[in-house]
Amino acid sequence: MFDAPSDQAFESFIDAQSRRDVLRFITCGSVDDGKSTLIGRLLHDANQLFEDQLTRLKRDSRRYGTQDGDIDYALLVDGLAAEREQGITIDVAYRFFATDKRCFVVADTPGHEQYTRNMATGASTADLAVLLVDARKGLTRQTRRHSLILSMLGVRKVVLAINKMDLIGWSQNRFETIVSDYKAYAKKLGFFEIAGIPMSALSGDNVVHPAIAAPWYDGPTLLRHLESVPATETDAHAPFRFPVQWVNHRRGDFRGYAGMISSGKIRVGDRIKIQRSEHEAEVTRIITYDGDLDEAIAGQSVTLALSEEIDVSRGDVLTTLATVRLFADRLSARLFWTGEKPLVAGDQFELKLATATRRATVERVTHRLDPDSAEREHTGHLANNDVGEIVLGLDWPLTMEPYAGNRDLGSFILIDREHFDTVGIGLVLEPDAPLAPRRGERKGRSGLRSVLRQLGFGPAG
């Protein structure tokens, strides 16, 4: 069954296949801006549709399509029955396609406000966002709300896809106005890169092939852009962080701590400490099924054996010795609230952060962000789909860091204590945050310490 590969050619084919990197991106925008059509286009024009899928698509287009029997590419991604019937996208759908240059995972997300929570799922792991705008309508409230959430969840590269350009005669003027409006709005959102591309998802112009109708545009097509933008990688140079997932022990003879290295790297012989107890130990083995390693880096799932018999369990975090104490029972956080009822002080949740779970109480709702202006607004509650800042107290401390310093130790979900739904998505701003606003913070500004932390001068290893 496993003959030696027949020839060199096969080996180099495999090699090339496994070297292609992956870009994860998300498409979002308001309902009917053309997200599903766009993804269908990408799959179709990048020749990623199989014959049988095309046949089924043609059949479904006649039955459910909105294109008078012509192919309705939206039906490729709107897979749920309710979506086909209502002609809307409810949930995030993941699609996979590849070109010679790169593999892509695209998360197509719902435009309906009611399903905004599903968009966050796709955004959290995206390297880039394609934000669709209907050229006739320009920026909408939903464009802005989505931008806030993208920014909050750490997406730093945005393609502003001005779609349906065919319906406004490929007006350069209109295109440029929308792009500059957006750039003005997005100034506060911390995106690194905003690339405006005029396109027609329906005809495919500037999606895969250049639009002849827009000779004034000399930028790349969407696909060209997606192929060339750098993907985000985990940082092997950051200090070592290892949230323990599971204790692997065999009666008497073996005890190891299983987890995924969150940042940095570890070598056999390195000394580490357990954040909770501040006990120290030496890493004696890095165990994998494929044999012990001398060194492991961020992103690898391994099992570590330690020199001391110390108390370590799920939820504990191993760090370098030089790391300051990261163990806290209060935090300020930025929160995307997806619960139905408004969030107010006194509400209690289960909070899950990395591999730890704690009881959390909302001590204060500090403010919400107005999606239209991205300005802070004082408030005592957060409504469904609001993004805002809160202070949480925990029944027992856990190891956390600002999101800026470490994504795994700086992000959490809030879980309803009755039906266990996930009702909030949060980022740690400041561990050990004070309950009352600090002096001089009345306008809701973060303290200097917090700003420094956010800029990456946080506790270092």
Binding site: Q17, V77, D78, D91, T121, H237, F412
Partner: protein, 320 residues
């Protein structure tokens, strides 16, 4: 961005990440992610089980489970829902693998369905699948009280799968409510559930068919020989090649099995699984043929073509 910027999440560390680039390959990252998910599944459940369907995805899943808990054995049994219509080679392979790896294998068949004589030839694929797979799975999960079932489904297989979470909640009746899926950001899988509810966990969610084949090659993972081309007795029905795997297959008048060189892209109940004509008898040949293929792999599964929303309906009813 400046001090006044109300909403800047720091970029310094994000950009810095680009420096330490590409230390892990795509397959290494997928592997690490799946191992992480497997460990979360057992850390967040009382009584987990791995649904072992004997196909190539299950083979990959089992291999990942061996890695995730090494040097311990995976802390859960394997469950195979046997419709009694699986290819004989699948059953032989199943028993050999469980034995070689030293894992507990539970086999469940819907005895009620057997007693009623449910049969894919007589009752069609819909009824057969519902009784012998969907209901059988529910029976098995209820009987053993499993609260987490780990399966090898991938998002690239089918449109409703593309919308499934990694940790996917099922009601006490094993139903799936696509409108009530929980947000699932980053790697924060929420495994909490009310009494009676259970989780389906899909560690291979982000794998594609291409990744699965490349990984099987890289890791030398054993798979059922039916994936490789060989001369096998087949008949052609409604344009699909069906292998005559045993004497239960009713042949029409004048229908004579022919020996043809075929292989399977997906494995299930033999009367419902189409073969493709191929001479790809080695893994490199299969990989080359697969990556250049012009039909998607589920084409071979007759149960998916019933209708656009058929898979979703099956899942709502408790099909895996």
């Amino acid at each position: 961005m400046g001090y006044d910027a109300p909403f800047v999440i720091p970029s310094a560390s994000r950009e810095r990440r680009l420096v330490g680039r590409a230390a892990l390959t795509h397959l290494q990252r997928l592997e690490a992610e799946s191992i992480y998910i497997l460990r979360e599944a057992i850390a967040q459940s009382e009584s987990p089980v791995l649904l072992y369907s004997i196909g190539k995805d299950s083979s990959v899943l089992l291999h990942l489970a061996m890695k995730a808990f090494y040097p311990a054995r995976p802390p859960f049994p394997l469950l195979h829902v046997d419709t009694t219509w699986k290819f004989r080679e699948m059953i032989a392979f199943r028993d050999a693998r469980a034995k070689a790896l030293g894992l507990e294998l539970l086999v469940h068949t819907n005895e009620d369905g057997i007693a009623r004589g449910v049969n894919p030839f007589v009752h069609g694929s819909d009824v057969h699948t519902d009784v012998m797979k969907t209901q059988a799975l529910r029976q098995a999960l209820d009987r053993h009280g499993f609260d987490a079932a780990i399966g090898g489904a991938r998002r690239d297989e089918e449109v409703s799968r593309a919308k499934e979470r990694v940790f996917s909640l099922r009601s006490a009746n094993h139903g799936w409510d696509p409108k009530r899926q929980r947000p699932e950001p980053w790697r924060l899988y929420n495994g909490l559930k009310c009494k009676g509810e259970s989780m389906r966990v899909f560690p291979l969610s982000n794998w594609t068919e291409r990744d699965v084949w490349l990984y099987i090659y890289q890791e030398k993972i054993p798979i059922v020989p039916l994936y490789f081309a060989a001369k096998r007795p087949v008949v052609k029905r409604k344009g699909t090649l069906i292998m005559v795997d045993d004497e239960r297959m009713p042949l029409g008048p004048g229908e004579v099995p022919q020996m043809r060189s075929v292989r399977f892209r997906t494995l299930g109940c033999y009367p419902l699984t189409g073969a493709i004509e191929s001479t790809a008898a080695t893994l490199p040949d299969v990989i080359l043929e697969t990556l250049a293929a012009s039909t998607s792999e589920r084409q071979g599964r007759l149960i998916d073509s019933d209708g656009a929303a058929s898979m979703e309906r099956k899942k709502q009813e408790g099909y895996f």
